[in-house]
Symmetry: D2
Subunit: 396 residues, 4 copies
């Protein structure tokens, strides 16, 4: 990648596209970052949505100075330095590329795209933009759970040593038979189902934490357990109309890492009892670590170098000032929550655009493209029932 | 108590006194409440601190429109409807009473006061103000951890039945021998140590959850393990100057509840390994419940009415839309943190001042006075080594 | 105590009195000890019960060579070196004293006795017997849960340092309103209820682990929640006959330890959801430890000397060969169960009678008497509502 | 399979082959079964080992009446009804087949065999023997952990419904680089490594609990992380001699179940921090369950039919008399351990041979052969990097 020539003017103003779940999370992030962190506050310049009235109301509530029903307004707005793309996956490419072309930095929701072709175009656009000092970011928010950032640090400190195993599951259960048809079940909007939504996170986390790349994917099994879903609203008395779900409800695969570790990945939306069970475990020669987002303030660590009688799994409450990001929030064990990963990422993006180092590396489009290739390899493995080398995807 | 004659004008503006830990938490609360909850947004009108420049900077960062180094300015400010008192305990009484006298609603940090005498005066002032429609609130934030609010609901639904035991510990460990002298170790500013700071919370929570009152306290043991603490800054080369700590590092006592339950309470700042271990357990004839703030999104529930083969402790992740307050935040198991208890309380205070019901009862000065009497009974029991009836404190 | 003059002939044969729950546990212990441990096998010479046929059947099933309906037979039996007393509390004194007088070693179930007077006589008899080389033991089985034995070791290794807090609960829930009248609810047979049954264990464990003595008890509250219980069998159609329960269902108290720590103890048989929740926690200047019998293979340890970023509660699975007793059983994490504490104690008694050191100290009548005095102090505190010095009990 | 014509003479005497880890576990099982369960006691007739003196000593210690250094003695011994085969995997076939041929019932350690060819011959021998009323059993001991037996029951009660996911890991960590060469690392004796040793258990458990068969295996990755191991004893001063490990240290694969569920299996001996982490999770439409042997007395259950506000993971302590096998042991939450699975299996085998039903189904050679085919399919998938249908193995 060509070296960035950014002159680090900082971040004066943000324009957000999207007023749904992620729109709210990002709004909280941009507003909170300069409170919790000692940083200049970017203006929440403008929010773009579909419906003008709803977008106006969203903007008023969540602190945006202006609103628009035309996202292209943001590209023309000189008070907007960065466009934040928080919309369904198939819109990531056109919006991000347009923004980059307009010279705006872009912070895009994950996964990078719904398709590899889109992801490819985004990466190329990012490379071109980088030559002009324009930056890209992807909201892989879980990197900034303090426990996950600590895992990243601990691997680099040599506390795990040679890695034998990676075990990563992202399990949810909201996709049971009673859940109606949504854009997330439509391949043309979402690309894939649990896979793109959830495996994207844990592939990113595994790469981020271990510092290794996925080199091969095998044995992938994708399953659509619920083939048809009700189309709402259901008219009274009428037999419910249904539509075919065109995405996976779950996708599991086995991977080989560049350092020799064997990894298992599994994403599901029908793993009953798991609401947001984003887990990552790493077993190495010198120690092990495991993370469960449902207890996101905690990291479990096994120190194989401890004397045997005292060895055990240590639950580290990652809320001490010495822990990543924890200094910014509350006293020890005064827990932080889901939104704080976004707040910390916003803070790190502000830092990056001011020429400062983020506390842990920020994913850009290049980095997210590598994750996308792993996701694509898994899809191909599921289709062909053969092992797939990730480099064959990158080059293919 | 005379019935309130509030005409429910809502809450137009807030004035905050205090720019420290609680000042930050309350700032987040007032700013966040109208975002997460569908409520009119009160203005963050003015913040008052000690140093003008620092207070100005605090106000800028945390979203206050104006700042002042004279808290009495708030009393004269027509844009301020409610004064939020977030300062050391000995200042609760003078500031709250002045604000009430000026016709402002008051939201005071817990404990109500450092001394019973102060608490008495505050309750009397609140009674007088109530006659004019002026409201009081106390920031017992843990009532609004969704799990604690759910405990409250479940007792009222009859899921616990006759209560046999209450077990409440609030354990921290920041008060070890290396911690220097602070206002919190000075009885003249703090009233008491771990007791007023931590037992205040769990006595309030026990009363709130069970709906029972503490009638007798016995066996209280207060202990100052660290008798002298370094006065900072320590001059280089000089032998560190120390000062005497005049408060308890821990205080434990046994209580009898109005419904017959036996309760144990323990607060400590030297319980090594516990950072913010605020726990409450209730055992009853039909079931049990337990809460640990270090896993604040979870409630453990035992249903004695379940068939025996399937009975067990059920860990309820209190993040479903049906759980108290959870509807306002993120999807299931996208955890909330410490600050959200404050956000929810701010929202409920806005509701209350608009004539709406809070999701669970809000503590006022009258209610907090009852808690204060229990704390006082424990102090007397620790001093006299005798059982103390709480009603003897109230009347005495 | 006069120094023992035992000539360590080893243990050739055991005579057991009792064929109920403890009779079974002790039978497993005596049979298992020489299997798991590399020790000479004592003969299971004779078991004594009430009903001849039932005792015979018990003996056949549990591996005893002979049986008798007259426990005094054991005193005359030259093949019996040690009499094992596993009967209700009020029989501990007469049987143990008779056995000691007959020159037999005695292993008595806990608590030492139902009353202080009995305990006194037993201690005196043990002292007299000791002069003739006759030994006494008390089955405080939980000392030999590997995790508890490890706590004992770790305190001695200085890993906890100055102790601030001890927190011990022994909670069960089988004593609800539907449980009929049993000898355990009759003060004349049991002495006390949850207190003697359960607090006996945790007072012993707290003394054993900390190496400190309880010097004062205060605030004790004893409660009989279920005043009357059905007398079984209930005749059909008849209104159930009830009898008055004369023992406590729960008893909680606060204690001060000889090293300055503050301790809380609580025993209950109506703590719904807790089946055998025998917990002990110790907080000290250099670290903390906690144990929960319901996860008896695990010890949780906090190392305050670890660097802050890596500090946490470490769950040590106490099944490594380096852990106390674990070498005798199965490979790591192939868990042991309740009975193994008895097996390990039997092994240590065989060792002691062979002149070898037990892995951790064995409680004798002298030691159990000290525990009994703490229990008595708690009963007096509950009665008088005053603090009670333990030394006033010992001497009084 | 031809219907058994056993005339159910009961079990008069057992002959054991093997004096190592499993020899001890089975000895405890045969001795304990008639104590804990109300069953006729089989004689521990004879134990066979390699070294006469050591076998004699083993027999004395663990309660066997006679011993021999020639295992064929058992086949000729009329007091032996059942031969218990507790030796390395490659000896399972010759010994079992010889015993069956001699008309003895056989209880063989798992896995059925080290190779599919051996397993095939054993199954055929078992079929032939069955026609004469001779029975076979395989020691898949974990089926009789009460929690696992309860999972089996709950699936049959319809509490899980349609199964979406099975997740099974068996993780140990004793196989790190410092572990020397053992028979378990030699393919000629062990067949495979972690796979045959550990995946055997979890494949059996998954089949047993779900009642579904594995129909396809894909993506298997086998890994020998530690290629060479020291041959002991190491001579002082000499450079340690090493030998090549010819088995897998870990093997992971993905499976499809006959009912449509997607399953993941993983076995490892280098999963640092996991000593005996045998876990099984099942997610279904009506609920989920998960088991971790390191907390073997507990089962976690999610009831999707509970009202939403009270739904959660329920930790069932499987020690109530209503739970499988728990009635035989101690009171509630007086935990049982690893060995009790063997005791319960011995009891069930005695029952079966007396014409009674076991509490849950006992695996015979036919059943274990089905598990062996899944293991073989995984090995083939690892070798060919292709999906393998299990029926192709059975028939192939």
């Amino acid at each position: 990648m060509p070296r960035s020539r950014t002159r680090h003017h900082g971040l004066a103003g943000v324009g957000l596209i999207g007023t749904s779940f992620m729109g709210r999370a990002h709004s909280v992030a941009w507003a909170g970052a300069p409170k919790f962190f000692d940083l200049p506050a970017p203006a929440l310049a403008c929010v773009a949505g579909i419906d003008a009235a709803e977008t106006h109301e969203f903007g008023r509530r969540w602190g945006w100075m202006r609103s628009t029903a035309d996202w292209r307004d943001l590209l023309r707005d000189p008070s907007v330095d960065l466009v934040d793309v928080a919309v369904p996956n198939h819109l990531h490419a056109p919006m991000s590329i347009a923004a980059l072309t307009a010279g705006k930095h872009v912070a895009c929701e994950k996964p990078l795209a719904g398709t590899l072709a889109d992801a490819h175009r985004m990466r190329d656009a990012a490379r071109a933009a980088a030559r002009k000092g324009v930056r890209t970011f992807v909201w892989f928010n879980y990197r900034r759970a303090p426990a996950v950032a600590l895992m990243h640090r601990m691997v680099r400190q040599g506390r795990i040593g040679r890695i034998y195993h990676v075990r990563a599951n992202y399990l949810q259960d909201w996709g049971g038979p009673s859940t109606p048809m949504l854009w997330r079940f439509d391949a043309s909007a979402a690309g894939s189902g649990a896979h793109g939504d959830l495996n994207a996170h844990i592939v990113d986390m595994a790469r981020f934490v271990t510092g290794e790349e996925v080199v091969e994917v095998s044995g992938a099994v994708a399953r659509t357990f619920i083939g048809r879903r009700a189309v709402t609203p259901v008219r009274r008395g009428a037999r419910p109309r249904t539509a075919r779900s065109t995405v996976d409800d779950s996708l599991a695969f086995i991977a080989q890492m560049s350092g020799g570790a064997v990894a298992t990945f599994e994403a599901s939306r029908v793993a009953t009892g798991h609401k947001n069970r984003n887990t990552l475990e790493v077993n190495g020669e010198r120690g092990s670590m495991r993370f469960d987002f449902e207890r996101m303030n905690e990291l479990e660590w096994w120190d194989e170098t401890q004397v045997q009688a005292l060895r055990g799994w240590t639950r580290i409450m990652c809320t001490e000032p010495v822990h990543p990001y924890a200094h910014a929030y509350w006293p020890p064990a005064h827990l932080i929550g889901y939104e704080h990963g976004f707040v910390s990422q916003a803070a790190d993006m502000v830092r990056a655009l001011s020429g400062l180092e983020p506390e842990v590396p920020l994913p850009d489009f290049e980095d997210a493209f590598a994750t996308q290739c792993v996701l694509e390899a898994a899809l191909r493995s599921a289709r062909t029932r053969r092992p797939v080398l990730v480099r064959s995807v990158v080059r293919g």
